[in-house]
Symmetry: C2
Subunit: 344 residues, 2 copies
Amino acid sequence: MSSDHRIPVDEHVALTVAVLTGLGAPERTARIQGEWLCEGDLRGHASHGIRRLEVLAGRVRAGLIDPAAEASVQCPRPGVLRVDGNEGFGPPTALAACDALPALAAEAGIAIAAIRRCGHLGMLAPYVERLAAAGLVGIATTTSEALVHPWGAAPAMLGTNPLAAGLPVDGGEPVVLDMATGQVSRGKVLDHAARGEPLPDGAVVDAEGRPTTDAAAALDGAITPFGGPKGYALALVLEVLVASLTHTALGTEVRGTLDVTDPVTKGDLLLAIDPAAFGGPGAGVAAYLDTLRALEPAPGHGPVTVPGDRARAVRARNLELGVPVDPGTWSRARELLVDADRSR
Amino acid sequence: MSSDHRIPVDEHVALTVAVLTGLGAPERTARIQGEWLCEGDLRGHASHGIRRLEVLAGRVRAGLIDPAAEASVQCPRPGVLRVDGNEGFGPPTALAACDALPALAAEAGIAIAAIRRCGHLGMLAPYVERLAAAGLVGIATTTSEALVHPWGAAPAMLGTNPLAAGLPVDGGEPVVLDMATGQVSRGKVLDHAARGEPLPDGAVVDAEGRPTTDAAAALDGAITPFGGPKGYALALVLEVLVASLTHTALGTEVRGTLDVTDPVTKGDLLLAIDPAAFGGPGAGVAAYLDTLRALEPAPGHGPVTVPGDRARAVRARNLELGVPVDPGTWSRARELLVDADRSR
């Protein structure tokens, strides 16, 4: 991606709003979805940026996303929300859960939202950051299309199942984790295959399950879980946990965030914990994190960072300079606007 | 470890019971601690087996563990337990939390116990298995002495912070994860250093933070987090999460599970989720897991396993054949019995 092609934040969000309102989304819904796509590009994750608008628009046109849907939220127990997106977009659905959780966490001390039947949530970090900003521990995870192989076999049977956590820090920035459990993203595999560039060792396997650096061979193979057998185990636990609590699909039955053909069958979990129920925020966390940051880097390494540091810096820089978007991606997104206008 | 030296389960537990009752522990407390040490050896994790009895006994003698302590359990919110071990042993304290959680989870749908001031919990799997056997999702994590380096720096600043999860499976065995977030255990580093054997690539660093396979050099260095920067991020999130919610120490301030000199300052979290609050157990999980197990292994790999499979098989075999314990470890444990008798 050329980082020289930058779009002002307002313009970035406005394009998504225009496309989606043109397809029948209420202004507020379209704006939330637009802000979440913008967050992907702002943080340097083009795979979660406006590149996804094409699939979202296609899903609306195919009747697979209801652009005007409002989430239904049930509270069967003091610490539980069951959220049905009613086939709406992901971010407004998850945000409804995110905004309802603090009251439950205040009462029960801990609360979890099980979310189903909505579109791709986009970056998870902003949800847990929102909870952390409210003084809560936030944890999020979600299933996705099977792209990752189990440890020791070839076929893709697990999503890239990301895990995010936001931990409020007394007197400092929150710790913010947002990581996929695959070694690399599908976007990276596609990009490298298109350019004929090798992938790092251990990132992917070919169709027989043999490790390869050939991105093209990986298109018939699968992404390797991060961290070997332990990463596989973690990804599988997330797959089963999400599917069990949201009553959504598993493995190759998970659909609906990459295609424009199938109803969505992934699920999402969002958890909030109120530190006030545990005697208030922990002491000494900010100082500990600063100690880590101040450590002498090992040979060949840059400064030690705390999860969230790098994304925060990238985002701040892009907020200032403009959102980096690949020119081709931006052109395709603008064509969706033309399509939407024509389809009125 | 010679797996030829095996001890019947009863005899293994009885030795711990005899040593600890000799030091003032009530029979029931000593038995729970003994069963947890036995679980370590039964599952092939000698580092969590009766090898730890020496430190436990030493801590009792030093007044750092109160063998007769009973845990204090507070319930400040419907989904929260705050557990103070009152300097007692770990397993009876955590088990008190584990046994109290299902009632809270039944009410709130989700509940978490924050545990402090007790000894090392031992294997985490048996706690989450117990919750899973009650039909609940169980998740456990804990801090420990700093042995793992942050990504990109040399000094040990994080515990091996294990993460465990037990997921009940309708019509099948539960999924049981129990993994440290370090690449290798401290026990393995010590063993390899003593035998002059190399460690695998990427498992440890030397005092300057350079990757090494020399176990002796790693004694002055640190254990590498599993899974590179992502594993570091996960380990750090667990470190901060546990410390924040249990009001215990961070990094190099964590003490009391390996030494016989310092009050314990680690913390533990135990989480339970009631699937009944989410519409009951998820469907299709058992079939999905069996599909994974039936996959053709990739070249150079054995059969695909689901987290918990291997430990379950090892445990079943050892239950039948006897608990494998290194003869030297067993002798030292028996000497503690003599010491305890003498100290009466």
